[in-house]
């Protein structure tokens, strides 16, 4: 079946490019929804600004961060969050719950790569509609988006983009067992947000908890990219060179991919669907 389709000229690169373009166009129709971020994100940032301004009135540094560094942390962290956002887990769960997943089983395409291309298409649009205007706001606020090591910053952002997708997609795979995974998704997303440093820099957490966080994949989603952007990595009292932490991030992406495929292999055996 697969080879028959490939012979017709639908080679994978063309197919994936088509998915990216279609997702972009589809979401372009709902660009106003995306544009809500232009209003929402500056408000969240203002809240953080006031919180930290009040705190830094009585202290010069908090866990090694100055006021400007703290603002830069939150600004870069929010941009990373925008870049990484996707609903692949939720979409997969919906497909499994409604039974529509069966149509994907009949297609000569890996759902994982299909979903990843959808994320790329969606995020390209988000870059134009959400990220650029929000970055402009930050720049007006005096935040300088100049990475300390541009090459490593690009690599780490790319890896974090893949890792966040793999984490969310893996959560979606749990639908093969639970059917409805809203609860699990919320739990893991909350855990990811806390443990990735999206709420607060991880080195503000108690020392014991930092050691625990060091061994989880979540720091590589947000904390590591932001730290690489700033040019200095430190967690649980351990400092590491930028190339070394990016290498660890790449290893974590590989490990997460293997976990994802293993769970997929086990989960797909449980799927049954009627009609197509």
């Amino acid at each position: 079946m697969q080879s028959a389709v490939m012979k017709r000229g639908d080679n994978p690169p063309r197919f994936y490019k088509a998915v990216i373009t279609a997702t972009y166009k589809e979401n372009f129709a709902y660009r106003n929804q995306m544009a809500v971020s232009i209003f929402v994100q500056p408000i969240y940032f203002l809240v953080h600004y006031f919180i930290w301004q009040a705190i830094f009135q009585i202290r010069d540094q908090v866990s090694g961060f100055t006021f400007d560094q703290m603002l830069l942390y939150f600004a870069v962290s929010s941009i990373v969050e925008f870049l990484n956002w996707d609903s692949s887990g939720h979409m997969l769960q919906r497909l499994i719950q409604t039974g529509q997943f069966i149509t994907f089983q009949l297609r000569p395409v890996s759902h994982l790569y299909f979903s990843f291309c959808q994320k790329i298409g969606h995020r390209i649009l988000a870059f134009l509609i959400e990220i650029l205007p929000v970055m402009c706001f930050y720049i007006l606020f005096g935040i300088r988006f100049v990475p300390a090591k541009p090459f490593w910053a690009v690599i780490t952002l790319f890896l974090s983009f893949i890792l966040s997708f793999l984490i969310r997609y893996t959560i979606g795979i749990f639908a093969f067992w639970f059917v409805k995974t809203d609860g699990v998704s919320r739990a893991v997303l909350l855990f990811t947000n806390i443990c990735s440093g999206a709420f607060l820099p991880l080195n503000l957490f108690p020392a014991g908890f930092q050691k625990f966080l060091f061994y989880l994949p979540f720091q590589f989603v947000s904390y590591v990219p932001v730290r690489v952007f700033i040019g200095h990595y430190e967690l649980a009292g351990m400092t590491m060179s930028i190339p070394r932490i990016v290498f660890l991030q790449a290893a974590m992406v590989g490990a997460m991919f293997l976990v994802n495929r293993a769970l997929w292999y086990l989960g797909i055996k449980r799927f049954t669907g009627v009609g197509a």
Partner: protein, 273 residues
Amino acid sequence: MTQLKPRTEFRKWRFSALGLYIQGVKTALASRMAYRGDFIMSMFIMMIVEFSGPVITYIIYNNGAAFPGWGQYEVLLLQGIFLMSRGISFPFFMGIVWNTIGRVQEGTFDLLLIKPRSILLMSIVTAFDSEDLGKLIGGILVFRTALRHLPPQPLSHWISFIILFLFSVILMFGFALFMAGLGIVWIGNYRIYEIFMSVMDFGMYPKSIFTKTFQSILTYIIPVSLLASYPASALLGNVDKNVLLALLSSIVFLLLGLCFYFKIVRNYTSAGG
């Protein structure tokens, strides 16, 4: 005849606004119980999610930093009040927002409009969100923890707190009306919630950390300070005289919300099929 009277009374009660609401709650719970494992987990997560604000406060104070003029447990008390206000509004009436957005998008909002009851009542009745009860439990836990670490407050403080807390819930209802109205105009946009949540974030921290201009906006224009900052100050006995203007502002906000909602409903022309 005498036997029929209690039945008529029961029927009258059953079709009252409260009776309808209770029926809505029962239906929502029954349908959610179809996936009860997911329901319990979602409710638990809702509770845990509510701890994120207090956890940030704990970490800030644990690192030796502080909000000027506020002790750790005073801030936690404020956040507990904020979460309780959210914990009451989200399950019991804030659901009108997603209910309205979803129904307008699908076209089923029309079905509520042809019911022989107020559209606002019907939107609330069909929107009970049982998972959000976790928010209320989370709020109560934070509030209770903070109270344990603070000196006991006199009855007068408690009375002022309860009055201001009621206004906090009224303000939430005002927000819900504005968002539900927007949900009719802005079809299918669930991100309306995010706009509201971002503005609400100002209410989770002491009013004093903001600049004077922002304090004025948060007291008189969108009285977000009433959500927690004023009730907490009242309970701690530090409420300032601007509170009366904030109360007035919240009533105006609610009335504007009602006008906005019903005006939008009047102009509504079905979008679905």
